[in-house]
Amino acid sequence: MHLTDHLTDVQLNEYLDEAASERAQIEAHLISCGECSARLTDLQALFSELESLPDLALTRSLAAPFTSPRSLPVQLPAWFPLTVTLQAAIALAALVIAAPFAIRLFPLPAAPSLGRVFIQLQTQWTAWLDRLPAASQFKMPILPSLSFELSSLFLMSALVVVSMLWLVGNGLLLRDQIK
């Protein structure tokens, strides 16, 4: 920096923030340059005005929720969350150990195919309609038979996929509110 050049705004700001690397040169320039000295004084005045801004008063006490012991949330010790993880790990281990015994003691019933259940329901429904005198004139449309079996596994998978999509969609929509 030449002593004859005027100081830049950056230099003046950094000087007042005590972040200027060339402090001695800036001070030497300020002694000899009235213009830069006046700019520094203006900037100092702004600093003083900002820092002397008085605090505003509150309209309500923020201490109120903390003065009553009942209103204070229970303070858990720092190690407490670790016990939750430990409990979960123990529960999982117990489940894994107990699973083979539980299957032996309580064998799973064979799950009926959902497709068959629907067909049975439809048969019962048409049989009930046939018994109605008024409905005897009316012919129920026969549902087209599917060329493939809708297995319960397929229906369950579809249900899980739709639920996941619904959850992800809601999560995306509500992410700002969750923050």
């Binding site: 923030d17 702004l46 600093f47 900002l50 801004l53 008085p54 012991p69």
Partner: protein, 178 residues
């Protein structure tokens, strides 16, 4: 009887002594509210976020290092909350009218001071939110450029440019001829 220090109150609050944390809040609530107000410029929101800052601090009271000063820490918690709030809102709010309160009953010099304070608050409120934040952290929380960069997660060059531009805008607004 000696007034308990912040450290004493924190230790008492940790032991579950009722009222100790309340007293700590009473001591620092105005400073914390003003941090929020200078950043948000909306009284209701500032009070709510100041309250939230004390709740967050209470949740972390067991991990707080009692050898540190409580005041700078709680003010930084409040500034962070306001930063998150501004990021989630992405809107600018109007300045509350705090300037003319009780001016009719006060001496002329007090009215003039209030008027000037109102002008400064108005000039601060007119700044973009990111400029207000650096002004708050540098002038009111006395953080260095590096600390501000870490706190706001922005480059050092951005800290300087935001700060210097903010001061330029403030100077133009406050020293402009009427």
């Amino acid at each position: 009887m000696n007034t308990p220090t912040d450290r004493d109150l924190i230790l008492k609050a940790r032991r579950g002594e009722s009222g100790a944390y309340g007293e700590l809040v009473t001591r620092h609530q105005v400073a914390v509210f003003n941090v929020c107000y200078r950043i948000l410029h909306e009284r209701g929101e500032a009070e709510d976020l100041a309250q939230e800052a004390f709740i967050r601090a209470y949740d972390r009271i067991h991990t707080f290092d009692v050898d540190r000063e409580f005041s700078p820490w709680i003010r930084r918690v409040a500034a962070n909350l306001c930063l998150n709030h501004l990021e989630s809102q992405k809107v600018t709010t109007e300045l509350d009218d705090e300037r003319d309160a009780d001016q009719a009953q006060r001496p002329e010099s007090v009215v003039e001071t209030n008027e000037r304070n109102g002008q400064i608050r108005g000039a601060l409120a007119s700044l973009p939110a990111n400029y207000r934040l650096v002004i708050e952290l540098r002038h009111f929380q006395e953080m260095s450029y590096d600390e501000i960069a870490v706190q706001l997660n922005i480059p050092l060059s951005d800290v300087k440019s935001h700060l210097f531009r903010a001061r330029k805008i403030l100077a133009e607004k406050l020293h402009a001829p009427d």
